[in-house]
């Protein structure tokens, strides 16, 4: 039935793809988390900023400019060799990253953020790892999406500007959004597949002992904890093999709609343990940010629960309220665990308004996401997913 429906209506599927934006909350959350990680890049280097990024630091201005020419790219830091300039660019970059995290400035702000981010990455390339690599690839893809529709403090400027755009331009907004989401999804799958397949070829990954070697490297050791992990044969085998299997099969998990949120959750768990054990916080959180695009539904439910919990706490604190609309314990977080229940008791619209921050009311209906919606699956009837 499912296949028949898909085959009989390829055009309506295509129509759906270009008219219904997927994972708006997911990309918004990804944008916010990515903004936070980039902001922390500035914060964690703050006291060393002159040494690392200044013209008289460990990479003097003239050598830096030579490097830049050799790689054929640009950096705002190269514009002037005055110490004041690099300090200015640094602080401006930090503030713009903060604005991206808070959702101020819209996609133009995101583009400016990319320019500052690229500039600081090029200023000192030895500091970079896969996290920064992913960040500068994913930000242009996010720029295609409506990643400021949720979790943003909107000033309404973007909406006013959007109204002035000709209809033709506004019409491509949704297809562009969906393409952006797909692009991020494909990119993250590529990351996993490549790193998984290269691991399969490695001797120590085949032996199941790779984790033993990695966790002993001083740069990636957590003293007092890592010893116990690499001291246990079983843990080393299990963790090494499971990370290879997980990475290789992640793209398949993403393709199957029912498995998709779980694959993303496993990935988040995997990266949070990397963050703690290996001290790669920003790499791990950048990967987590990309996983969030598959978890729109889950984030929505979490937000609803958090809002409800806050309301209950407020009510208790003020001591007022004639018992409220929710009859006591029936509304406890645990009972809302079933995936479909959230659509039934969605928050009232005034609550939603605070989060969606001023979308035209016609667009709001589209915001209600189905968990893990993916363009490839949008054509199917919603009932099929569970």
């Amino acid at each position: 039935m499912k296949a028949g429906k898909l085959l009989s209506s390829p055009f309506s599927a295509l129509d759906d793809w270009s008219s219904r934006p997927v994972s708006v909350l997911g990309v918004s959350a990804a944008r916010a988390l990515l903004g936070f990680v980039c902001f922390m890049y500035y914060v964690s280097q703050y006291s060393d900023r002159r040494y690392l990024f200044g013209p008289d630091g460990v990479l003097p201005h003239d050598e830096f400019v030579d490097q830049l020419h050799a790689s054929g790219t640009f950096s705002l830091y190269s514009w002037s060799s005055a110490p004041l300039w690099s300090d200015l660019v640094f602080h401006a970059g930090a503030l713009i990253a903060l604005a991206v995290m808070l959702g101020i400035g819209g996609r133009c702000g995101l583009a400016v953020h990319w320019v500052f981010l690229w500039s600081i990455y090029q200023r000192q390339t030895v500091l970079l790892d896969g996290g920064e690599n992913l960040a500068y690839l994913v930000i242009p893809m996010l720029m295609l999406t409506r990643c400021y529709d949720r979790l943003a403090c909107s000033t309404g400027t973007a909406r006013r500007l959007a109204r002035r755009l000709p209809g033709g331009v506004r019409a491509v907004s949704t297809p562009l959004h969906n393409l952006g989401v797909v692009a991020i999804g494909v990119q993250i799958c590529l990351v996993y597949m490549v790193s998984g397949l290269y691991k399969v070829q490695g001797q120590v990954w085949q032996d199941g002992t790779a984790l033993f070697y990695i966790l002993r490297l001083p740069e990636f050791t957590l003293p007092g904890v890592s010893e116990y992990v690499y001291g246990s044969d079983t843990l080393v085998y299990a963790a090494t093999y499971s990370s290879v299997l997980f990475q290789v099969y992640f793209p398949l998990g993403i393709l199957v709609r029912r498995v998709r949120p779980w694959a993303a959750l496993v990935s988040i768990g995997f990266h949070l343990s990397i963050a703690v054990l290996m001290g790669l916080t920003s790499f791990a959180l950048t990967m987590v940010a990309c996983d969030l695009i598959f978890l729109s539904g889950g984030i929505e439910r979490t937000l609803t629960l958090a809002r409800r919990a806050r309301r209950r706490v407020m009510r208790r604190w003020t001591g007022s309220g004639p018992g409220g609309n929710d009859p006591g314990g029936k509304d406890a977080p645990g009972t809302s665990g079933t995936p479909d229940s959230d659509t039934g008791d969605a928050p009232p619209h005034d609550e939603l308004d605070k989060v969606t921050a001023g979308l035209p009311s016609g667009e709001r209906a589209r915001e209600d996401e189905v968990p893990g919606t993916h363009p490839a699956a949008v054509g199917k009837a919603t009932g099929v997913q569970r």
Partner: protein, 205 residues
Amino acid sequence: MLLAGAALLGVHFTMTALSQAPLSPAKIRYQETVNDYLQPYFAQTWTLFAPDPLTDDRGIVARARCADSTVTEYYDVTTPYIKSTQDSRFFPSRMARLVSGPVQEFNNSDELLNRMRIDAQNDKKPLMPLMPHEKRSRSETITFLSRYSLTQMPQACDGDVRAVQVRMYIHQLPPWSKRNTPEGDPDEGKVEVYDFPWRKASVLR
């Protein structure tokens, strides 16, 4: 619109995937096109600890020559920042990478040259000499590490350093098979050192 966009994405990710594929005749054939398109803004590397993760602890120590031509002891300019990385789990400082990055890349070259050298080593043939661009890049790395070291030992020669020499160490951590024996302790294992040429402090400042 949607279809055209999807086609563009398809081309983009085909190029990307090819750039991440193992070295192959197809890759060499299309390398130029792919690089022209991807570099520098879409450049990426996803081998992340694969296929062979590092199995050694690498770093540098450095010594200084003072105005009166005396040479100081070696200063450890690597471990202090490693310690501060280990002490923080929330966005740790990246200062340690000023050493680990250049040191790990020192013997690395592009994929093709690496492969040719490994093949020559396996066949017990003479190793290919360094290409001019490799020599230049190594020299730049040595300058960078020397300058870094100079800034990390302000107390040397009472502040009046005339020249710096960096020594790279590669500490082979004991293998898995020895993990339960006395020589399996992470502090054990063979250490190789490489002394880089002296660099004048006046050039570095």
